[in-house]
C-alpha cells in the first residue's frame, strides 16, 4: 500500500503544480508573457488569510473574501498600469524583456511586501476542513486538505476547459494567442482578455494558496518555488497548451512522490530534476519545446 499512498500524495502535489502550470500557460496564450509571479499570489492568499485570522482575529470567511478581493484588485491595477505601459506604451518593450521581466519584477516586489507584512516565519491559512486524515480502502491515507486541493483542481480544470473549448470567450482567448494582430482586427479586445485572465489566475492562485497551505506551510519566499514548478510544468506543454501543462504537472507530482518514497527522500527532487532535464535534452520536439523564447 506504500505505492498507493505515494501516488495519492503525488496526485495532491501534482494537482497543485498542474493548476499553477495551467495558470501560466493560459495567460501566456493570451499575452505571450510568462507569469512568474503566480506563486506569489498563492503565497499572498495563504499568508494574508493567516494574518487576518490569527493576528487580527477576523472571521475566516471575511478574511478569505478580503484577501481575494485585494489580490484581484492588485492584479488588475498591475496589469492596467505596469503591463499596459510595458507592452503598449511609448517605449514598449518586446522579446525576453517582456516575456520574463515584468512579472519577475512583480514577484520580487510581492516578496518584499510580504516580508514586511507577514515576517519571515512559516505560516499557513487555517484548514478549511480540519481533522484527522481519512482512510480509504483500509490502508490508503488521504489528508483532508489534500482532498480539497484535488477537488479544487478538478473543478477549476473543468471550468477552464469548458470555458476555453465551449464558449465564445474561450475561442477569443485562443485567437489572442494564435495571432494577436489578427484577433484585434477581428474585433477581439485582447487587452481586456489579458486583464481578465491575469486577474483571474491571480485569484485562482490565491485560492490554491489558502487551500493548500495547511499541508506545506508558506513563507514570504514560497512563491518563487511554486512559480518555478508551474513554469516547468507549463514548459512541458510548450507554454501554450493548458491540457498538456496539466498532465505534466500531475506527472511531475507523482514522479516526485515515487522518487522520494523509493529512491531517496533526501535526493528525490534532485533525481527528478535530472530526469526532467535529460528528457528535455533527449526529445525536445516531442515534448513541445520546438518553439523558442527569443530576444
Amino acid at each position: 500500500m506504500k505505492f498507493g499512498n505515494l501516488v495519492i500524495a503525488g496526485l495532491v502535489t501534482g494537482s497543485i503544480y498542474a493548476v499553477f502550470a495551467v495558470c501560466v500557460s493560459v495567460w501566456y496564450r493570451v499575452s505571450n508573457i510568462l507569469n512568474l509571479a503566480v506563486g506569489d499570489f498563492a503565497m499572498l492568499g495563504a499568508l494574508g488569510v493567516d494574518d487576518l485570522v490569527r493576528v487580527r482575529n477576523w472571521p475566516l470567511p471575511a478574511a478569505i473574501a478580503v484577501t481575494l478581493v485585494t489580490v484581484a484588485a492588485f492584479g488588475y491595477v498591475y496589469d492596467r498600469v505596469v503591463l499596459r505601459l510595458a507592452t503598449e506604451g511609448r517605449s514598449a518593450q518586446e522579446g525576453i524583456v517582456v516575456t520574463f521581466f515584468f512579472t519577475f519584477a512583480l514577484s520580487f516586489f510581492i516578496d518584499g511586501v510580504a516580508r514586511v507584512l507577514f515576517g519571515t516565519d512559516v505560516h499557513a491559512a487555517p484548514a478549511l476542513w480540519s481533522g484527522r486524515s481519512l482512510t480509504v480502502l483500509s490502508s490508503l491515507h488521504v489528508e483532508r486538505a489534500g482532498i480539497l486541493v484535488l477537488a479544487c483542481a478538478v473543478i477549476c480544470g473543468s471550468m477552464f476547459w469548458l470555458y476555453i473549448s465551449r464558449t465564445l470567450g474561450g475561442k477569443a482567448i485562443q485567437a489572442c494567442g494564435e495571432n494577436p494582430l489578427g484577433a484585434r482586427i477581428a474585433g477581439i479586445d485582447t487587452r481586456r482578455y489579458r486583464r481578465i485572465i491575469f486577474t483571474g489566475t491571480a485569484v485562482l492562485a490565491a485560492v490554491f494558496g489558502i487551500v493548500e497551505s495547511p499541508i506545506t506551510g508558506y513563507t514570504y519566499l514560497s512563491g518563487a518555488t511554486i512559480s518555478l514548478t508551474g513554469f516547468i510544468a507549463a514548459a512541458y506543454g510548450g507554454f501554450r497548451q493548458p491540457g498538456r501543462a496539466l498532465l505534466a504537472g500531475l506527472a511531475i507530482g507523482i514522479t516526485e512522490a515515487l522518487l522520494g518514497g523509493y529512491v531517496s527522500a533526501e535526493y528525490g527532487d534532485t533525481v527528478l530534476y535530472a530526469i526532467l532535464a535529460a528528457l528535455v535534452l533527449a526529445w525536445p520536439r516531442a515534448l513541445g519545446f520546438g518553439s523558442a523564447v527569443s530576444g
Binding site: F239, Y267, D269, T270, V280, L281, P284, F289, S294
Partner: protein, 271 residues
C-alpha cells in the same frame, strides 16, 4: 580602445569607492555587488547580447565559491591561489556540461538549464561536506592582511581588479568579429550558419565563457565574504542575477555591472 576606457572607468570608480568606503558597511555592500557584477558582465555577453537563454550562472557561481571554500578549508590553499584552480576546473566542467546542453536551443535550452540550479541546491543542501543547508565557511580571505581594515580594502581592490579584467574581456569580445558573429547567432541562427558561423562551436564557447565568468564571480565572493551560503546556487539567486542584468540593461556590459551594484545596494540598504 573603447574596451580599455570602459575597463579603466570601472577600475577607477571602483578603487575610489573601495579606498573611501572600504572599511564601512557601504564598502562591504559595494564589494559584494562587484562580485555579482563579475557574473552579470558575463551574462550581458551570453544572455543580453547573444541571447543564449540559460539559467545556470548561479550554479557555476556556486561551483566557484564552494570550490574555493573547499580548497581553502580542507587543503589549506589560500583563496587567491585557489581561484585559478577553480577557474580551470569550472572551465572543464562547463565544457563537458555545455557539450551536452548546448545541443538544444531556445526554450529547450532554457528549461534544461533551469533544472541545474534545482539540482545544485538539492545536492548542496544535503551534502554534509559542503556544510549542508547552512553553507561553507572559509578560513582565509583573498587578501591575507594583518588587520581587518587592510583585509577589507585589499579584498575590495582585488575584486575591482578582477571586475576590470572581466569588463575588458567582455567588451573586447563584443567589439570584435566574434562579437558580430555572436550577435547574428542571437538574432537568427540559421542566417548565422548560412553566413559561415560555426554555430554549435560558438554556442559552446558562449556557454563556457558565461560559466567561467560566473565561477570567477563565485570564487571572489567566497574569498571576500568568507562564507558560502547554500542559497548561492539556488533558483532564487539565478532570478536575482537576471534582475540585475535586466535592470542595468541586458545588452550593455557596464549596464549589467551597474545593475548589480544598484540592486545589491538597495538590498543592503533595506536589510
Amino acid at each position: 580602445m573603447r574596451s580599455l576606457r570602459l575597463a579603466g572607468l570601472v577600475v577607477v570608480a571602483g578603487v575610489v569607492v573601495v579606498v573611501v568606503f572600504g572599511q564601512q558597511y557601504v564598502g562591504s555592500v559595494f564589494v559584494l555587488a562587484l562580485c555579482y557584477g563579475i557574473v552579470t558582465a558575463g551574462m550581458a555577453v551570453q544572455i543580453g547580447f547573444s541571447q543564449q537563454i540559460v539559467f545556470s550562472q548561479c550554479v557555476f557561481m556556486g561551483f566557484g565559491a564552494y570550490g574555493v571554500a573547499m580548497l581553502n578549508t580542507h587543503y589549506g590553499l589560500p583563496s587567491l591561489l585557489a581561484t585559478p584552480v577553480v577557474m580551470a576546473a569550472s572551465g572543464l566542467a562547463a565544457l563537458l556540461l555545455g557539450s551536452v546542453v548546448t545541443r538544444a536551443s531556445g526554450l529547450a535550452l532554457a528549461v534544461a538549464t533551469l533544472m541545474l540550479p534545482l539540482i545544485a541546491v538539492g545536492y548542496v543542501s544535503s551534502a554534509g561536506y559542503l556544510g549542508g543547508s547552512v553553507g561553507a565557511p572559509l578560513t582565509g580571505s583573498l587578501w591575507p592582511g594583518s588587520s581587518t581594515q587592510s583585509i577589507a580594502v585589499g579584498n575590495g581592490l582585488i575584486t575591482v581588479a578582477v571586475l576590470g579584467l572581466v569588463v575588458l574581456a567582455a567588451s573586447r569580445i563584443l567589439s570584435s568579429d566574434i562579437g558580430l558573429e555572436l550577435y547574428v547567432l542571437g538574432v537568427d541562427e540559421p542566417t548565422a550558419a548560412a553566413m559561415g558561423v560555426r554555430t554549435p562551436r560558438r554556442r559552446l564557447e558562449l556557454f563556457v565563457l558565461g560559466s567561467v565568468f560566473a565561477a570567477l564571480g563565485g570564487a571572489v565572493y567566497a574569498g571576500t565574504q568568507l562564507f558560502v551560503p547554500a542559497t548561492l546556487a539556488s533558483p532564487t539567486a539565478e532570478l536575482a542575477l537576471l534582475m540585475m542584468l535586466f535592470v542595468g540593461g541586458r545588452r550593455s556590459v557596464l549596464g549589467a555591472v551597474a545593475g548589480a551594484v544598484a540592486i545589491q545596494y538597495l538590498s543592503g540598504a533595506s536589510s
